[in-house]
Symmetry: C2
Subunit: 422 residues, 2 copies
């Protein structure tokens, strides 16, 4: 074995949570590992942007050669984990919907909220009026917060433009934020987020616009990796969803679905049929859908912040999915209407308290499984030689303190591709 | 009217949330004000540690004379509120109980958790073994986090020592933290937090120890303002609680009660009978208890973080209390077992989502009503001439964004007694 050269070493971690066990990682998606493959008194060696070695501190220090200007960081009494990954977000928008939040608390119905100017359409109005630069400025504030809470990679959706021009404006903002910000953004085209008002009476025409105009242009400009559809009663029917997914697939986009969020519409089954990379929400997913997702290797992305924020009594069947061997991932669903948060830490707490996932499960779900949910499992999400050096050092000696210590920020520092960014 | 002199002005706030309407504030406790008395484009003038004027920016700037070295801060597009007040915390302890959190999620019973080394008694063990300086170091980390989340005053309880020596050790740590830290700590003696193991078979003897040894010594050393009792089945009975409260009252301590947290034991009624300053938890408080509290002017301190963290289905009857005219306050209950958080912001969100309080109500509950809950309503909790200049500038244009934006930290900066501390 060649002696690795290191430009950065983080050593003496009370727990180096690697999630690295090659035996347990399948070709397509990570297992839901309750064994986090923790190295006590662990160290990680980095050269440039990538990890070159992991191991027990004393052993690792003997194995690597330091570059002349190498940095050695002491993480004594601190946990080190992979950077958090947030695989479902809507971070580029304008305005806020705090008034709608207030109305919902006082028991107002969705219709009353819409009449009072709330709902997705209110954000669509604001986004259409905003310039790309305004969207970027707003997005940057959100990304800054995400980074401060330990998130190093996110998936980022369009879906508040709902015209070809405004969807592309949102995707351009996402692209430029990806270029300029420390956080990596994986772009998803979500023209099928809602039927815009001007198509309320002829939604199939909007589906045609998506398929014949939006998708071709988005793909031609290389603005999206994924295509996503909000498959739900009153939004896009399974039939419409199928048309959009077929088109997106033909154009080479990878697929995601907003599935079974508010009712069981067969979204999980559809995700399996189309070999989607992930199916998201899944609050009302049934046994058959879960079984088919497992067979097809679709990653379930659960959003406990959304059910919490919307005051829903029902939780996604996380425990059933885990029992069936699905690699559950978690995400913030960061958006101004149904989940206004940037913190994967509160999502981990909610995963524990509301979805009955263990601290080990929520950490897997926010790192390695989240990486597979955006098809980046080979590059990020665990600490292993060859992977990007995306790391968080925590103000905690035991990883279980991260979800246990709720509503705050337990991050001590954040490294993105080997560089300290927080 | 004399022209006020100002050493600090914070101007142009999109909303200056004053909570200052002399018409609405009773002699003992603040009303639960849904009208926050907001001044748009507001300003606050401070001289030294105290507020000297509030008003619309242009008017206020004409009314005050600046000292030579005065600072003028522009809070444009930002909300300014009183510093948050956390009127129920247990911030001085040793160890953590993340393993117990994990056990609870997996459905283990209280008995199993106690057998696995959890429960209050496990923290008592750790605190008895810790030095005062260790307790202070641990407490300082918690206070630093509280301050970063906008809290400027807290109530702080003992109750993890359960011997005279160890209770005094905890109270001394609290006293020294109060001297050294920017946050003001109001000390509460809570020797009656749990029956220590050595008294399990003769709890009345422990009550005698509290009354005949602890309280006299605590009072002689001037280490507490309040005395609190955990009145609950299996902890201190109403009869034992009464004995302790009578003794504390005779020694000049003000009173608080952990009342009706896990069952209705008549704690609310007892609080009213003893004219306690606050009754806390109140998850199972009944109509009669609420009525008596209202008549006696007892402030209800609700702890939605605790019911959330313990996965309890029942919420305190916040809406009923508000309808009955009680000035509801909120607190973190910051402690390692049942509510490991330092953030009043997540508590405000939980007040909205779980207790159905409006954003205006949770802000009143975390400022002015919280001040009355620790008998400091005349000094802090609202922005009014004469009060201490404890202020938070928020990264929000509308106060409703504070609870709406959940799980994060919306603080831009914090002033304590006129000094920028964050």
């Amino acid at each position: 074995m060649l002696t690795p050269t290191a430009s950065l070493i983080i050593k003496n971690a009370s727990q180096l949570v690697t999630l690295h066990d090659p035996q347990k990682i399948g070709p397509k998606c990570g297992n839901l590992m309750t064994n986090l493959d923790i190295i006590n008194n662990g160290a990680v060696a980095v050269n440039g942007s990538r990890i070159v070695a992991i191991g027990e501190t004393n052993k690792l220090l003997k194995q690597v050669v330091l570059t002349r200007r190498a940095k050695v960081i002491d993480a004594e009494r601190r946990v080190v984990t992979p950077g958090l990954i947030d695989p479902h977000t809507h971070p580029v928008f304008a305005g806020q919907r705090a008034a709608e939040f207030e109305l919902r608390i006082t028991g107002r119905s969705y219709m009353e909220i819409a009449e009072a100017g709330g709902g997705i359409i209110s954000t669509v109005d604001a986004v259409r009026k905003a310039t790309k630069n305004t969207l970027k400025l707003n997005g940057k504030r959100i990304l800054d917060r995400m980074l401060s809470f330990g998130t190093t990679t996110i998936e980022a959706k369009s879906g508040y433009g709902l015209t070809t021009r405004d969807e592309i404006k949102q995707l351009l903002a996402i692209k430029e934020l990806n270029d300029e910000h420390d956080i990596d953004l994986i772009p998803t085209f979500l023209g099928a987020h809602e039927i815009p008002l001007e198509y309320k009476n002829n939604p199939d025409d909007y589906v045609s616009l998506i398929c014949n105009d939006m998708i071709p242009k988005v793909v031609a400009r290389n603005l999206a990796v994924f295509c996503d559809v909000f498959c739900e009663q009153g939004v896009f029917s399974p039939k419409q969803t199928r048309i959009i997914l077929q088109t997106a697939q033909a154009y080479g986009l990878k697929l995601k679905i907003h599935a079974d969020e508010l009712s069981n519409t067969g979204g999980a089954e559809l995700a399996a049929e189309f070999d989607a990379v992930s199916a998201d929400h899944l609050v009302f997913a049934g046994d058959e859908g879960i079984h088919l997702m497992q067979k097809a290797g679709v990653v379930p992305v659960l959003l406990p912040g959304t059910t919490f924020f919307l005051g829903m009594n029902q939780a996604a069947p996380a425990r059933l999915m885990i029992e069936k061997g699905l690699p559950v991932a978690l995400a913030t669903d960061c958006n101004p209407g149904s989940s206004m948060t940037e913190s994967m830490q509160i999502i981990m707490t909610l995963g524990c308290l509301e979805y009955k996932m263990t601290p080990a499960e929520v950490l897997s779900a926010s790192t390695l499984n989240a990486a597979f949910a955006i098809d980046k499992g080979s590059e990020i999400g665990s600490l292993a030689p060859g992977k990007f050096a995306d790391l968080v050092i925590w103000d905690a000696e035991d990883y279980r303190e991260i979800p246990y210590h709720y509503g705050g920020n337990m991050v001590s520092s954040v490294y993105k591709k080997g560089v300290k960014v927080r």
